[in-house]
């Protein structure tokens, strides 16, 4: 390795204070292989002693060029890539990608598929929040929650394995519905999970509430105002912890969220502790949604009958010539949505997850762009960290729940 490129401080001149040039403050590299950065995030910190004067986040270590790859694959093949973006929220990514296709092609989704999507995405939200709770607790010195959270997350991943055959990269939600119906064991498994989970959530809260370290390092740390949230485009739990009552599941409901009775937890202090409260309360609300959706789970098909977009069932192939042709066309060439562009949004565990999709009438997407919440959250990180200690930076990174696959794409 001889061709290491050196970056002079002059290139970053406009980002650091004058004191950095005289050597009064120190520029320190944190990451990309730092356990508290939850992946591969590099932070260039300008420090005055132990106090952060400024911070320059450097992302892109996990950039995989998903948007470029999508342009060379057909719509169905590209969906597999969406799992890999936000690897803690594959169901949600599949869903928002399918929402864009469904909007573009005006494809219908059967009621049963809608309700199952809601259940699966809410389970995914809980599993994502569990991983967040465990790791961010670990960052500030609450070790035991991590192990408990992982244990409960495993139950959810087992449910995903049951329905889709995969624990994480599911690709279960497909344009026009689902890949196939859920097995008979699905409902009892989810019911036993929602019976068992509320007590566990109380346990986590007890564990953390009585943990001096956690309380000291989360209250009054990393405050961001609601106004700054708007200016920096922050959404999701970070915005709700700063007093913005904004949740797309309520504001612009999709897949029948308007029929479920649930609350949006909002806190006003905007610190690390408020973000923790919002996410823990969201887990309880997600359980409520799952229970209502399960109780009202309608029967019927889980895939649209539109054969131009959705492959026919296997049983029809032997008897119907049309089904055979559709099957062949869909799996060789793929479907071609009409010319146009749409922007579909959903509420991911981290905030507003959007897909901008443009079609030129061919079987390959002309342009797919993922609007990811982690990217904007990271941009606002310096705002929350200025004037605090390095140790607080670790707690704040944990609290905004970044997923680098989501930020870098």
């Amino acid at each position: 390795m001889t061709d290491i490129r050196e970056v002079s401080v002059n290139e970053l001149r406009h980002l650091v204070s004058d004191r950095a040039l005289t050597g009064e403050t120190m520029l320190l590299n944190m990451g990309p292989q730092h356990p508290s950065t939850h992946g591969v995030l590099r932070l260039l910190l300008e420090l005055d002693g132990e106090i952060v004067v400024n911070m320059i986040p450097d992302i892109g270590f996990l950039h995989t060029g998903v948007e470029k790859t999508c342009e060379s694959k057909n719509y169905m093949q590209s969906e597999v890539l969406t799992d890999r973006l936000d690897y803690l929220n594959p169901m949600g990514n599949n869903m928002v990608y399918c929402m864009a296709i469904e909007k573009l092609a005006e494809l219908d989704v059967p009621e049963r598929a809608q309700a199952l999507r809601v259940i699966l995405v809410e389970l995914q939200r809980i599993s994502s929040h569990l991983l967040w709770l465990g790791t961010s607790g670990l960052d500030v010195g609450a070790m035991s929650t991590f192990l408990y959270c992982m244990r409960e997350r495993e139950v959810i991943l087992d449910i995903f394995e049951m329905v889709s055959g995969q624990r994480m990269m599911t690709t279960y939600i497909r344009p026009g519905g689902l890949w196939r119906d859920v097995p008979a064991e699905f409902e009892p498994a989810v019911r036993s999970f929602i019976d068992y989970m509320p007590a566990k959530i109380r346990t986590y809260e007890d564990l953390l509430k009585k943990n001096e370290l956690f309380m000291d390092r989360s209250q009054g740390i990393g405050v961001i105002s609601g106004e700054d949230c708007l200016r920096y485009g922050l959404s999701g739990p970070v915005a709700r912890a700063s007093g913005l009552n904004h949740d797309l599941r309520k504001k612009q409901p999709y897949f029948g969220y308007e029929n479920y009775d649930f609350d949006i937890p909002v806190h006003t202090t905007g610190d690390v502790y408020a973000r923790y409260r919002v996410r823990v309360e969201e887990m309880t609300q997600s359980l409520r949604i799952i229970e209502q959706a399960l109780n009202r789970l309608p029967g019927g098909p889980v895939r649209s009958n539109n054969r131009k977009y959705v492959p026919p069932p296997r049983s029809e192939l032997g008897t119907s010539m049309e089904a055979l042709i559709h099957h062949f066309k869909l799996w060789t060439e793929g479907f071609s949505p009409p010319v146009g562009h749409v922007y579909a949004v959903s509420e991911s565990p981290r905030g507003e997850l959007g897909v901008y999709m443009e079609s030129d009438g061919s079987p390959k997407p002309f342009r797919v762009h993922f609007v990811t919440p982690s990217f904007v959250n990271l941009q606002a990180l310096p705002l929350m960290c200025r004037g605090l200690f390095i140790a607080d930076v670790v707690a704040i990174i944990g609290s905004i729940d970044i997923v680098l696959g989501d930020a870098d794409r």
Binding site: R5, V7, E11, H14, L15, I59, G60, H63, G65, E67, K68, T69, E71, S72, K103, L104, E106, L230, R231, Y232, G233, S235, L244, H246, K251, Q252, G340, H341, V342, Y343, V345, E352, G354, Y356, E358, F366, R367, H369, V371, F375, V376, L378, Q379, D408, R409
Partner: protein, 170 residues
Amino acid sequence: MSEHLETTVKAIQDRFDAQVKLFRGEYTLIIQPEKIVAVASVLRDEFGFNMLMDITAVDYFPKETPRYEVIYQLYSMPFNVRVQLRVPVDHLISKLDTVETVFPVANWKEREVYDLFGIVFNNHSDLRRVVMPSDWVGHPLRKDYPLGYEEVQFSFNFDEIMKNKPQPKD
């Protein structure tokens, strides 16, 4: 559709000579590049579009003027409506100013567009690459940027591919 959105679209259309498109219930306003900062600040201050959710671009490669379209997704939290702004931009000659002064979130979003498309935003405070390495050559999301792949080896092209294949060093 919301009444507020319709009056907003009408007002912007009249004041800034914008074209309006409606597709699948989404309004798109096509704006001239010189007017983007003015339109963004009017939308924010007068019509309550207080959040910029995204900036991205599309490359229509063989077409030269305009080659790109820069897309802004705006959201109004008080009125709960969205509007899309599209700005056609020519290849090489960019008259597009940054909207960073109106929406600070545009800083990184514009860096991303610059990084992946090579569209330059005038007066941007920190126009560096954001996801690609800083010494990268080229802008990957342009349509004329090659998509790397490995050619399949058959008997007719076996030798030629073997010749160019990187071999492990001794």
